[in-house]
Amino acid sequence: MTKNRRGEYLVAAVLVAPFVLIFGWMFIYPTLQMVQLSFTKSPLIGAGTWVGFDNYVRMFGDKLFWTAIWNTSYFVLLTVVPGTAAALAIALMVSRLGGWVQSFVLAAFFLPYILPVTVVYLIWDWMLNVQFGIAQFLIEPFAGKRVNVWRSAPWFMPMAALLTIWWTNGFSILLFLAGLRNIPRELYEAAALDGGTRWQVFRSITWPLIWPVTVLCLTIQLILQLKIFDQVYLFAQGGRTQSTMVLVQLIYEQAFQKNSSGYAATVAVALFVIVVAFSVLQFQLLRSRGGNK
């Protein structure tokens, strides 16, 4: 019996070894290196000098770091829950369609997701162009004049959030749609026989049964949006980058533009801690809420 067990362990060890080795080499080791780097004053290339907690002291006193924390949080607030809600709403509507119409509509919603960020950037930059952009016809009645939204602090983050939801929502819609299809038909039939209203059906059947998918979508979105970089970097280029700075952008700027890897690593450690803390917290919170139902 024990011998058999040992054999099983050995097989298991052999089977997981490739993953563990690659994960250790490609993820764990660089992460440890990053933590080590955060205690040094280093250029982008070459060795640095040990400075203890200097970088951390500097970070907590850095106005730009707090701006980046605020902007990142604001962006997360604007995208994660609204984006997931929009995806659920769209999925509910799409699921009512049938046949090729459904496929067509679904494809239309999924299309932006396959675009590279550079293409997304160009499309929205053209649409919102202050001189010739078509979207200015929508903005002008609201603002009273044409607005370069990428150079105006109150407009920047909401616009970046809007286009991010447009861009990445296709994936969440697919997840929700798969979840909706997994809900047994009989439940809806029973509800119909009992004369349940549409809202009651949603509240008592769809919502609780789709909750696990919602948790998944929220978690994926949260981690993704905490790491926001591309859109903000592209749209802010050459302008007021400091007022719209987000965390990953700060890391990029410090490491690659200001040649200060040590400090960049420190900010990266901070982001790492934030991402881990948030995702564990969120997952636990949402899972327990789901369990109570």
Partner: protein, 423 residues
């Protein structure tokens, strides 16, 4: 005897030819030239390869301009994987030298290329010097210029007897001229990139220099009255925007489109937009146009310029054979000698001999604005200066809001000084 000599000569020639053919020296080349000038550079490379077939072959790769290019160069040179030769902005040399990314050009190298300090404009040659050593060979000077719609300027009485714009000097006078152009039926008097303070740095820095102001360098940014002079320079653009003669928060492509569509009568932009105008003109889609040195708004003529130069990376752990080094120098020499073609991209050839040639003097509007090389100013020599540098970034943050009158010029330059001092 005669026959023997003939045979001997022939066989020697054949032998040497065979020897060369078997050892084609490849020169790995990186550049960041993606636009109209990139097309021209590819032609120059092709021409070189044809002329040196069997001897030297350039293998060119074009990479992304700006921070991505310089980061790649820096990291690859550090592990010995850099190219044999690359294009470099003179303004970015101080940072590269501080990181040990570049090899020096020695006196023998200059002699081998037949070039030297006298081959270039004083400021241009000075720009490739770091601590008294040369780390690049200037290929061109690319300043900003004032593009103008000749038809509109003529209608406003701003074209002189020599066919060139006149009556544009002086700050108030210039703005009055822009107003006149606007009143004459143009949507704007002058288009420029007002959404990008990093780009507009080139214009504002020129006006700082026109007041004999300097930016300073690390540890001593914008000292004394330079801060006030910079605020004056920012205010010039802010005033244009406020008066409505320049569009607010306008990005680069829109500024070009406003000018080429005739909506804006003039435009401040880099000489690299010359091919755009030439091409549109060829298609019959452009008005009469020209380009001149920036008008003097303050005390003296002065215009921002940078230089595309050739540099050799210091590939760590890799030794360069004398043959390879000679081939690289031959490439640089060829490019310097043939930079007349490069001038069609708008850039002013750095090689003074080419600039003085009759062919260049006949090239318009290049020959008209080339005289500004006598009044040019390069970026301050700092590891934090140059294109796509922390200095450009600081300018983006400070000038963008100020040019569009969201922040006053004084506050903006104070913030800029603070962020430069914090570098």
């Amino acid at each position: 005897m005669k026959k023997f000599l003939k045979i001997a000569a022939l066989s020697t020639a054949l032998l040497s030819l065979a020897g060369v053919a078997s050892a084609t020296e490849t020169v790995v080349w990186w550049d960041f030239l993606g636009g109209g000038d990139g097309v021209r550079m590819k032609k120059l490379i092709e021409d070189f390869n044809t002329a040196n077939a069997g001897k030297i072959e350039i293998q060119g790769t074009t990479l992304d301009w700006g921070v991505p290019f310089y980061t790649k160069v820096q990291t690859s040179a550090a592990v010995g994987e850099g190219p044999d030769i690359m294009t470099y902005h003179a303004s970015r040399l101080p940072l590269a030298v501080s990181q040990g990314t570049l090899s020096e050009f020695t006196a023998e190298d200059w002699a081998a290329m037949g070039l030297g300090p006298d081959s270039f404009a004083k400021e241009t040659f000075d720009a490739v010097n770091v601590d008294g050593k040369q780390y690049a060979v200037p290929f061109d000077t690319h300043p900003i210029v004032l593009y103008y719609n000749k038809d509109k300027l003529a209608a406003a009485g701003l074209i002189g007897a020599d066919g060139l714009p006149t009556g544009l000097d002086g700050k108030d006078n210039f703005q009055a001229a822009l107003q006149k152009l606007k009143d004459g039926g143009s949507q704007y008097g002058l288009a420029m990139t007002t959404a990008d303070g990093g780009f507009a740095f080139r214009t504002i820095y020129s006006y700082l220099c026109q007041q004999n102001g300097v930016l300073g360098t690390d540890g001593a940014w914008l000292e004394g009255d330079n801060l006030g002079k910079l605020a004056n320079a920012v205010q010039v653009v802010a005033d244009w925007v406020k008066a409505g003669v320049t569009p607010e928060y306008t990005d680069y492509p829109s500024a070009v489109a406003l000018f080429t569509s005739g909506e804006a009568a003039t435009m401040i932009n880099g000489v690299w937009e010359v091919p755009t105008m030439v091409d549109l003109e060829k298609q019959g889609k452009l008005f009469n146009w020209g380009a001149i040195e920036l008008p003097v708004l303050f005390d003296r003529p002065c215009t921002y310029a940078d230089s595309h130069a050739f540099a050799i990376p210091n590939n760590v752990g890799k030794t360069v054979t004398p043959e390879k080094h000679a081939a690289v120098l031959a490439v640089i020499k060829y490019m310097a000698d043939n930079s007349l073609f490069w001038a069609t991209a708008g850039h002013v050839p750095a090689n003074a001999a080419v600039q003085a040639s009759a062919e260049y003097k006949a090239m318009q509007p290049q020959a008209t604005y080339a005289k500004l090389t006598a009044n040019q100013v390069f970026d301050p020599k700092s590891v934090n200066a140059g294109v796509a540098s922390p200095l450009f970034d600081a300018a983006g943050n400070a000038f963008t809001a100020a040019m569009n009158n969201e922040v006053d010029a004084k506050t903006a330059v104070d913030e800029m000084k603070a962020s430069l001092d914090a570098l």
